[in-house]
C-alpha cells in the first residue's frame, strides 16, 4: 500500500512541471462545462424548437411530458450536454496514464524503478490511481458546477429535475469513476507496449464512441436516460472494468516491458 501511495506522490510531483500535460488535462473539462452552461442559459431566451422532435422525446422521457415549449427546448439541450459530461472521465485520465509507462521508458527510469522491490500490482494500481483521482475529481467538480448553474439558469424547477435527474446523478457518481478506470487500464495496457504516448492516447477515440452513439440516439429521441438503464450500465461497466484489470495484469510483464523496448 505504501509503495502505491509513494508512487502516486511521485507522479503528482512530476505533474507540477508538465505544464502542457496539465493544460491538456484542464482544457477539455473547462470547455465541456462552460459550453453547456452558456447554451442552456441562452436557450432560456430562445423560441421553442422543432415540434416533431419534441413529440418523440416526450414519448421516451416522462419527465418531459408536462413541459411547455420553452421548457422542453431547454431541458433537451441540458440533457444532451449532461451526456457529454460522460466524456470527461474517459478523456482526462488518458492524458496522464498514456505518459505514465511511456514516460518511465523514455526517461529510462523504468529499469531502476523495476529494480526496486515494488510489486507489479502496486506499480499498476499506483499508476492507475494517479490518473483516476484527478479524473474523477475534475469530473465531479465540473458536474457540481453544472448542477449549480442549472439550478440558476433553468426556466423552471421541472426543467432542472429533467436535466439533473436521478439517472444522470447515478451516471455522474458511479458510472463516471468506472468509466475512468476502464479508460486508464486500457491506456496502461497499451502504454506498456508502445514507445510513444500518442499511440496510447488513441484508445480514447475508441472509448468515446459509445458515449457519442448514445448522445445521437438521444438527440433523435431514440432513447433517453432512465434509472434502470443506468443501473444496468453500471453493472456492465463494473464487469468490463474487472475484465480490463485482468487483462492489464496479464499484459503487464515487467520483463517484457523492459526487453521489448530498446
Amino acid at each position: 500500500m505504501h509503495h502505491m501511495l509513494t508512487l502516486c506522490y511521485k507522479e503528482w510531483l512530476e505533474l507540477r512541471h508538465h505544464r502542457t500535460l496539465v493544460a491538456g488535462l484542464l482544457i477539455p473539462p473547462f470547455m465541456l462545462t462552460m459550453l453547456p452552461i452558456v447554451t442552456v442559459w441562452l436557450s432560456g431566451f430562445a423560441p421553442p424548437g422543432d415540434m416533431a422532435e419534441e413529440m418523440n422525446r416526450t414519448l421516451t422521457d416522462p419527465a418531459l411530458a408536462q413541459l411547455s415549449g420553452l421548457e422542453l427546448g431547454q431541458a433537451m439541450i441540458g440533457q444532451q450536454f449532461g451526456l457529454l459530461f460522460m466524456m470527461l472521465p474517459l478523456i482526462i485520465p488518458n492524458v496522464i496514464s498514456s505518459y505514465s509507462i511511456v514516460g518511465e521508458k523514455t526517461n529510462r527510469t523504468l529499469e531502476p524503478l523495476l529494480a526496486t522491490p515494488i510489486s507489479t500490482s502496486a506499480l499498476l494500481l499506483g499508476k492507475a490511481f494517479t490518473a483516476m483521482v484527478p479524473a474523477v475529481g475534475i469530473t465531479w467538480v465540473c458536474g457540481s458546477i453544472f448542477i449549480i448553474s442549472m439550478a440558476r439558469f433553468t426556466v423552471s424547477p421541472a426543467v432542472f429535475t429533467a436535466i439533473v435527474s436521478p439517472a444522470w446523478l447515478l451516471l455522474l457518481i458511479i458510472a463516471a469513476p468506472l468509466m475512468s478506470l476502464i479508460s486508464i487500464l486500457l491506456t496502461l495496457a497499451i502504454s506498456s507496449r508502445v514507445n510513444d504516448p500518442r499511440s496510447a492516447q488513441q484508445i480514447v477515440a475508441v472509448l468515446i464512441i459509445p458515449v457519442m452513439l448514445f448522445f445521437f440516439a438521444q438527440t433523435v429521441g431514440f432513447v433517453s436516460l432512465n434509472i434502470v438503464m443506468v443501473m444496468l450500465l453500471v453493472l456492465a461497466l463494473a464487469i468490463i472494468a474487472a475484465c480490463c484489470l485482468w487483462l492489464v495484469v496479464r499484459l503487464f510483464q515487467r520483463e517484457t516491458i523492459l526487453t521489448r523496448w530498446r
Binding site: 510531483l13 529510462r108 529494480a115 520483463e255
Partner: protein
C-alpha cells in the same frame, strides 16, 4: 569456476548463503541471438568483481538477470542466497543497482528522487530523508538538493544514481559501467567511492570495459564475451603468462645479442631495449636453460633474469582478440 578464498575480505555477519553471487549455466537468448551462454560464477562476499567484456558481450544482460529484472532462458543463480525467479522481491531488497543510464526523474529535485526510491526500498519516511541527506552531503550535492535533476551535469547525475543504489544499504551492489562518459575528475570520484564501498566489505559487481579501472579496483576479474572466457583473481590474471615472458638484463647494450636469441627455435619473439632483452618463449622449462646457456656461451654478461608481469590488458586482448570494440 570458483576461486580460492584469498579474495574474500572480512565477511559481513548478516550474509546469507555461501556466495554473494552464484550462477550455474546461466543463459539468456533473445530470439536467435544468445546474449549470455552457460555462465558459471561464484563470487565470495566482500569481493569487488570486475566483469570485463567488449560492447555487446552480454554484460548488461547478465546484470539484469542477476538483479531479477529479466529471467534467464536456462540456468539458475543465487544472489545473497536467494534464488532468482523464486525470491525476486528479496533479491531486489538485497541488491543496489546502478543501471547503464542513470535513469533519474528529470522533473523531480535531487532530494525528491532519492526519497522516492528510498521509500520504494521500504525505508520509513524518516529513514528515507535521513539516508538521502547523508548521501547528498557526502556526494557534495546537498546545496543543490532542491534543483531539478534535469539541470544536472552527467557527473552529478551519476553521483545521484550511485547514491540511489546505496540508500537501502544493500550488501551487494551492481554497477553497470559506472564511469563511462564521465570526465577524469568525475570518474576518479566514482572510483574513490567504489574503494570506500570495498573497504566497508560490500560485494560489488562492476561491469566495465576500462581495464585500468578494473586493475585499480577489482579483486576478482571475469573476462567475458557471451561466454566466460576466464575468471581469476587480479594477481593470477596478471601472472597468468608471466613464465612465458622473461626479461634478461645484460651488462651492456642488448641489441647485438638479438640475432643470437632470435635464432633459437624455442623463442617466439624477442625485443631489445637498451640493456634489456624481452623474450617470449613457448615453454619456460625448455627454452630458458637453452637461452641462458647460449647467451653465456656467446659471451653475454647476464646480470639478472626475471619473469615479466602480464598486464590485464594483455590477458584481455589475448582472450577477446584485438577486433571488436
Amino acid at each position: 569456476m570458483q576461486v580460492g578464498s584469498d579474495t574474500s575480505r572480512a565477511r559481513d555477519t548478516s550474509v546469507n548463503g555461501d556466495w554473494a553471487i552464484e550462477a550455474h549455466g546461466l543463459t539468456r537468448v533473445f530470439g536467435k541471438n544468445t546474449a549470455v551462454e552457460q555462465l558459471d560464477l561464484a563470487i565470495p562476499y566482500g569481493t569487488v568483481f570486475g566483469f570485463l567484456g567488449p560492447n555487446g558481450a552480454g554484460k548488461t544482460t547478465t546484470v539484469r538477470m542477476l538483479t531479477a529484472l529479466i529471467a534467464p532462458t536456462r540456468g539458475t543463480a543465487h544472489v545473497a542466497g536467494y534464488e532468482i525467479g523464486a525470491d525476486n522481491q528479496a533479491i531486489r531488497q538485497q541488491v543496489g543497482m546502478l543501471t547503464e543510464s542513470p535513469g533519474l526523474y528529470d522533473h523531480l529535485s535531487a532530494l525528491e528522487n532519492l526519497v522516492f526510491f528510498a521509500r520504494l526500498y521500504n525505508l520509513s519516511a524518516d529513514e528515507a530523508n535521513h539516508a538521502a541527506e547523508s548521501y547528498l552531503r557526502s556526494f557534495d550535492l546537498w546545496e543543490r538538493r532542491k534543483e531539478t535533476v534535469g539541470g544536472f551535469s552527467k557527473g552529478m547525475r551519476q553521483k545521484l544514481a550511485i547514491a540511489r543504489a546505496l540508500l537501502h544499504n544493500p550488501p551487494i551492489i551492481f554497477l553497470d559501467e559506472p564511469t563511462s562518459g564521465l570526465d577524469p575528475a568525475a570518474a576518479r570520484m566514482v572510483r574513490e567511492e567504489v574503494k570506500k564501498l570495498r573497504a566497508e566489505g560490500r560485494t560489488i559487481f562492476l561491469t566495465t570495459h576500462n581495464l585500468t579501472e578494473a586493475e585499480e579496483l577489482c579483486d576478482l576479474v571475469g573476462i567475458f564475451r557471451t561466454r566466460l572466457l576466464r575468471l581469476d583473481t587480479l594477481e593470477r590474471m596478471r601472472q597468468g603468462h608471466q613464465a612465458q615472458r622473461i626479461r634478461i638484463v645484460l651488462g651492456g647494450a642488448a641489441a647485438p645479442w638479438l640475432p643470437t636469441v632470435q635464432a633459437l627455435h624455442l623463442v617466439e619473439q624477442a625485443v631489445a631495449e637498451e640493456r634489456c632483452l624481452m623474450v617470449t618463449v613457448a615453454s619456460v622449462q625448455q627454452a630458458n636453460p637453452l637461452l641462458i646457456r647460449t647467451l653465456v656461451e656467446a659471451g653475454a654478461e647476464i646480470q639478472y633474469v626475471e619473469p615479466m608481469d602480464e598486464s590485464l590488458e594483455h590477458a584481455y586482448l589475448r582472450l577477446i582478440g584485438t577486433e571488436g570494440e
